[in-house]
């Protein structure tokens, strides 16, 4: 479980996170949703220490990450897997080397063992056999999937994914959502998914946090999300005609 307590983050004059508190439970997909620029990525980066919040703390299973120094943070970081919004694959390495990189750095496995793990991860994201391609030769959606494969290579205890579905077709998108959910349940990971894709929200949103202008506006599950009277959330959820029609039907 990851507990976030009263996180504040400002960039210059821009107060992006205004005291966010939330619990992210293990063995479950925790979603952070919200409009563009609402601070989702910033919250994620504060949690993993890529941004230092001015106030507040992030606690990984009782370990206060925000108060740790570089050396002690490494221990938690080796338990973290993260997919970046822009994939952040290493340009100078091919797909196989990208996924193998954390294994090379932190394990003493033999090459054969590592290669097996790489191929296993690639299979799970439907990219078997693409080992030797370089990031420049991949489509945006393929990069995303390699990013996920790299994030899960070390069997992380905490999985952070920033917009896994943007740039993917609906079918692959569902494959990725299902994969994330499977992994979460199988390995009891604490998974945090940033998204603004309503399909994902309805599909895997067991625990959802809705950010609006840097504040936690709403919290609940996909079963509750369509029945709230929270105006901003309704605007977000029912932005599409399709969802609006669905809501009318329900009534």
């Amino acid at each position: 479980m990851i507990e976030v307590k009263n996180i504040h983050k400002t960039f210059g004059e821009n107060h992006v996170l205004k005291g966010i508190s939330a619990d992210f439970k293990e063995g479950m997909c925790n979603l952070i949703i919200g409009g563009s620029g609402s601070g989702k990525t910033t919250l994620l980066k504060c949690m993993v220490g890529l941004h230092e919040p001015e106030e507040g703390s992030v606690i990984y299973d009782g370990r206060d990450f925000t108060r740790m120094n570089f050396e002690t943070r490494i221990e938690i970081r080796t338990e973290i897997g993260m997919l970046f919004q822009g994939s952040a694959l290493f340009d100078s390495m091919n797909v196989e080397e990208n996924i193998m990189f954390p294994l090379n750095m932190f394990t003493d496995q033999h090459r054969k063992e590592k290669l097996e793990r790489v191929n296993f991860c690639l299979e799970r994201v439907n990219l078997a056999g693409k080992n030797k391609l370089f990031p420049a030769e991949l489509s945006g959606g393929m990069k995303k999937r390699v990013g996920i494969a790299r994030a899960i290579a070390m069997n992380p205890k905490y999985l952070f994914v920033d917009e896994p579905n943007s740039g993917l077709d609906p079918k692959t998108s569902i494959v990725i959502d299902d994969l994330i959910q499977e992994l979460t349940e199988e390995y009891k990971t604490t998974t945090i998914v940033v998204t603004h894709d309503m399909n994902s929200v309805m599909g895997i949103g067991e625990n959802i946090i809705f950010l609006h202008q840097g504040e936690k506006w709403w919290e609940g599950s996909n079963k509750e999300i369509s029945d709230t009277d929270n105006e901003e959330l309704n605007e977000f959820v029912f932005a599409s005609k399709f969802m609006r029609a669905l809501q009318k039907n329900k009534k």
């Binding site: 080796t78 970046f84 919004q85 822009g86 952040a88 340009d91 090379n104």
Partner: protein
């Protein structure tokens, strides 16, 4: 104004020299950098060195109008100025342009595309992994380049001197073989090592703290070259003062 970046630079260096996670991975990176910095710069260093020696010979001959001074002095002057100043300093300036800009843009691109963040997340000491191999690669190969440059510069001087008739082959060789002070070579190597450190670390610093996008990567790489060049000439002066 200068103290804030200087402090950041020193802190970055402190992080660079943390204990590596895995030596064998660092070793592989070091060899890779040695190849790209050293072998990759051989061509340009060879060309400029030959011309440096040639120009020095012709101009020295032009300035030596008195018949009282033996022509062999030209050889000595070419030798000493190549070793002491021309080869280390001019090579360093050229390498600041070639190696510095590529180091800064490579690391800068990794910064703006979040590749450095990705390293950090994995628990890797990104300054160490990205910068240490470049610094070591530079410190090992740039002095070798300078030695090659010295040889080619003297050779260029010989060619230009004999071709133009400014000095005979015999005189030139007498010149370069008499009164050689080995200490000048030590000074030259000290310069090469320090310049190598400046080029790689300053450029890596510029790249590492790039903020923004592709445009800023370009600016970082320009800044890396300009600041490296100034730092090289400043260090050149300090070393000369201290050692000579």
């Amino acid at each position: 104004m200068i103290f804030h970046p200087l402090g950041k630079y020193i802190l970055l260096l402190k992080a660079v020299f943390r204990r590596p996670e895995k030596w064998n991975i660092y070793r592989r990176e070091i060899f890779h950098e040695m190849n790209s910095i050293g072998v990759g710069s051989l061509g340009i260093i060879a060309i400029i060195s030959v011309f440096l020696g040639a120009v020095t010979t012709v101009q020295t001959a032009f300035q030596l109008v008195s018949d009282l001074i033996p022509k062999s002095v030209i050889g000595s002057i070419v030798r000493d100025s190549s070793i002491l100043e021309l080869s280390p300093t001019i090579s360093a300036i050229v390498l600041a342009g070639k190696v510095g800009s590529s180091v800064a843009s490579q690391i800068g691109t990794m910064r703006v595309t979040e590749q450095i963040d990705a390293l950090e997340i994995m628990g890797i000491n990104s300054p160490g992994y990205l910068i240490l191999p470049k610094i070591i690669g530079g410190i090992v190969t740039i002095p070798m380049l300078v030695i090659i440059s010295i040889g080619l510069s003297i050779f260029g001087g010989y060619l230009a001197g004999t071709a133009s008739g400014a000095v005979t082959a015999q005189d030139f060789i007498t010149g370069i073989t008499t009164d050689f002070n080995p200490f000048t070579f030590t000074v030259s190597m000290v310069k090469a090592v320090i310049f190598a450190f400046i080029i790689t670390s300053v450029s890596a610093y510029q790249g590492f703290y790039t903020d923004g996008g592709a445009l800023e990567v370009g600016q970082s790489s320009t800044k890396a070259v300009v600041i490296s060049c100034i730092a090289i000439l400043f260090a050149d002066y300090v070393i000369a003062q201290l050692l000579l």
